[in-house]
Symmetry: C2
Subunit: 454 residues, 2 copies
């Protein structure tokens, strides 16, 4: 069984896509958020999904449920909000015009994440038409992903029972540079915190530097005990729970297609700290890091001002890998800071567990098989993203055994978060078919008692 | 011979003082600068001084000369500009009303430096009336001291011949907490620079932290090679030219009246890095320092932003003591930075030699003797200010053998640079008499051929 679209179906799909893209939904400003949630709600209803627009303390979350009484349930996570459009003057098409040019649709959200969302919804409808196999669906579409999902955890904790599922398909995971569908099996974890130091009430004339402390030096001296100049994190115990990559993930490292020189160019840096392709891949997938995101103290205007700064702060993020636990890392850091005599304040701004799902599962097999049928290519499996998504809300909070990012409509030229975001129309159609095919393969692999098959 | 003022002379002096204070002269904004320079010019003319308002690339410098053909010439340095008046709502009197209350005159500049300037001018007139002794005078009054004297060095270099003198009386050096006139024999030197580091064109997503450098960490690693966490400067050779205090200065340390606990309170810091009175005094007078004035990199807004910062900078000042040479220190630092692999930019923002004048001179003797006569107190001698003034322009650029800060109209309650700046009227009169008496004593100690004595 292989899914396909007629010309009429393609035309209808494109119209739905364009209609959805024309509706702005900028979470940073709130523009069009309510309208988009309502529009999505009605699209879900038209597809036969039991749907609701759920209030949060921020933008609403649209949930959907389609229960056939099947043994297995898949949770589909997406977001309906988009990034702001600045710089507007760099757009060749209106960001909400959804113009078509060169076989592509141009719009903010074309790839991230409206294209993927609509493709999954249309794939779901296609799957249902076949009445081929039983699978229960839950949909969770938030409106704050682009501003850091500040209300998602609360919502998931409050609705843990009704959101439970056997596996989660997250957003992300489009095509790689060779056009291969990516299957990203997890994310790095994150511990983000701010260290604040104060040596007194106000900045002092710097002639006092010989008799007073200096907040900037104190901060700097503390930071240099956290990480060595070789990049190694010096907090005792930091690496204790880092698991070496298992064989199944190591083979993904071996085939991961990345060129260090290309990467230097695209990142715009003088040099990478890792030399070979393999070192880069291993670092991206399984090396935890301690990064300074920001640092400020004293005078930062032009010219000279002679002061001893009274205050200083640093923003730090630790990217974590399995099985590092952000709460345990925080405790190790607190112990370390106490030991080196840190006298400031520690503010925790964000905390996420790392996730790495198994690759030998029915879910991943269904993703690979469906990708091969639709794209005629092998999938590109990745142990985990080098970045962080709120994936652990599903795996660690809801206790779902596997979560992957896959079936994205975007590709390497999609200019996500940038001007002229776009998706190739053919790839949008393929994302619909990939979604339908995946649901089908996954349902077949997990037949169980299904009303559809009766 | 002891100078005194009649009631009428006091009244006239007070009126001149008030008239001058009512004229704003804020160098930071330029408000009233030209008017003040012109007013000063006419006050000098009325006193019989050959005067000129000299253009610079900034605010004008008022110069004056009174040549009697005497063997010795004294150069009197002051400034006619004042600090801004913010916060205005904390003033109990208009900052340019020059109100009198509780025996004090309240105005911006009452002490720093208009009070001292007018007292010296009136002291000069008083001295001339006595026709007692011969002394040549040069006056240099700049209008940019409160913004760092950006055009003074150029002016002094361009007018080196006409500005030459045997000794310099700088501004500063008012009364200490016990009402003793201070004689400050020098200043610390200064090397102020900015270190800039860039690792690429733009900030990167912090998932790249495992494969790229980080401008903030690079800067921090470099800074930690410049100074140890114990406060010791690690640049090889930095301390080589630091001279131990000679006996004459050590005795000043022994009698320097400062209480570490009081100092903690007045600076508003948790603790000092020096414990005893003597340690504090020694550090203030003869310990060079490396101070971070400012530090900035990456994201400094509220909340979390996950980036690898592409740029970072630090502003650093080194306070120097005799015989450290800022240009030599700069070279040592450049060598050190090259050795530790610093790959950024070094911008020099300011450079001043340290100065410490001898204490066993006719100048200092005249200052002490005149102070004893007018105030009935011993002077408080200080080897050098813990801060920096452009004193080395006189000693190192003009090659004048001694320069001191003394005969200031202000006292410990004068609230210099703060709201409600003020001077006790009696102390203003004393500053006039101290000036006249000092000129007299100094002229006598250096009689030479004087037309006045003919």
């Amino acid at each position: 069984m292989e899914f396909s679209l007629t010309k009429e179906e393609e035309q209808d799909a494109l119209e739905s896509y364009i209609q959805f893209l024309k509706q702005p939904s900028i979470s940073a400003t709130g523009e069009g958020i309510m309208e988009t949630a309502d529009l999505l709600n009605s699209l879900f209803q038209q597809a036969g999904i039991k749907t609701a627009v759920r209030k949060t303390d921020g933008h609403p979350i649209v949930t959907g449920e389609y229960n056939t009484g099947a043994a297995r349930t898949i949770l589909v996570y997406n977001h309906y909000d988009v990034q702001p459009v600045d710089p507007l003057n760099e757009w060749r098409h209106g960001p909400f015009s959804a113009d078509i040019a060169n076989g592509r649709v141009y719009a903010r959200g074309a790839a991230d994440n409206k294209g993927t969302l609509i493709a999954r919804l249309l794939g779901f409808k296609k799957f249902l038409e076949e009445k081929a196999a039983g699978l229960n669906f839950k949909f969770l579409v938030e409106g704050e992903e682009e501003i850091g999902s500040p209300h998602l955890e609360r919502f998931i904790r409050d609705n843990a029972t009704t959101l439970h599922a056997d596996a989660v398909i997250m957003e992300g995971g489009g095509l790689d540079a060779k056009g291969r569908p990516q299957i990203i099996l997890g994310v790095k974890g994150l511990l983000y915190l701010q260290l604040d130091i104060s040596i007194g009430e106000r900045d002092l004339h710097s002639s006092n530097a010989v008799i007073t402390e200096n907040a900037a030096w104190k901060l700097l001296n503390v930071l240099s005990t956290i990480k060595g100049s070789d990049g190694h994190v010096l907090v005792p115990g930091f690496y204790d729970d880092v698991k070496p990559l298992r064989e199944e993930y190591l083979s993904m490292v071996d085939t991961y297609d990345i060129d260090p020189s290309d990467l230097e160019r695209s990142l715009g840096v003088t040099r990478l700290t890792k030399k070979t392709r393999k070192e880069v891949a291993l670092a991206l997938f399984n090396e935890p890091s301690c990064n300074i995101d920001g640092l400020a103290s004293g005078y930062s205007g032009t010219g000279a001002k002679t002061i001893v700064p009274a205050k200083a702060f640093a923003k730090l993020d630790f990217r974590l890998v399995p099985d590092q636990d952000p709460q345990k890392i925080l405790q190790l850091l607190r112990n370390h800071l106490a030991k080196v005599g840190f006298e400031g304040e520690i503010k925790v701004l964000s905390s996420e567990f790392p996730v790495r799902s198994p690759s030998n599962t029915a879910l991943v097999t269904a993703l690979k098989n469906s990708a091969a049928k639709i794209y005629g290519k092998q999938s590109c499996l990745i142990p985990n993203s080098p970045g962080t998504q709120p994936m652990s809300l599903f795996t660690h909070v809801l206790g779902i055994g596997e979560a992957v990012s896959a079936i994205g409509a975007g590709g390497p030229l999609s200019a996500v978060h940038a001007p002229n975001e776009n998706v190739e129309i053919d790839l949008f159609y393929k994302a619909i078919l990939h979604s339908a095919q995946f649901f089908y393969e996954y349902a077949l692999a997990n037949p169980g008692p299904s009303p559809l098959e009766k």
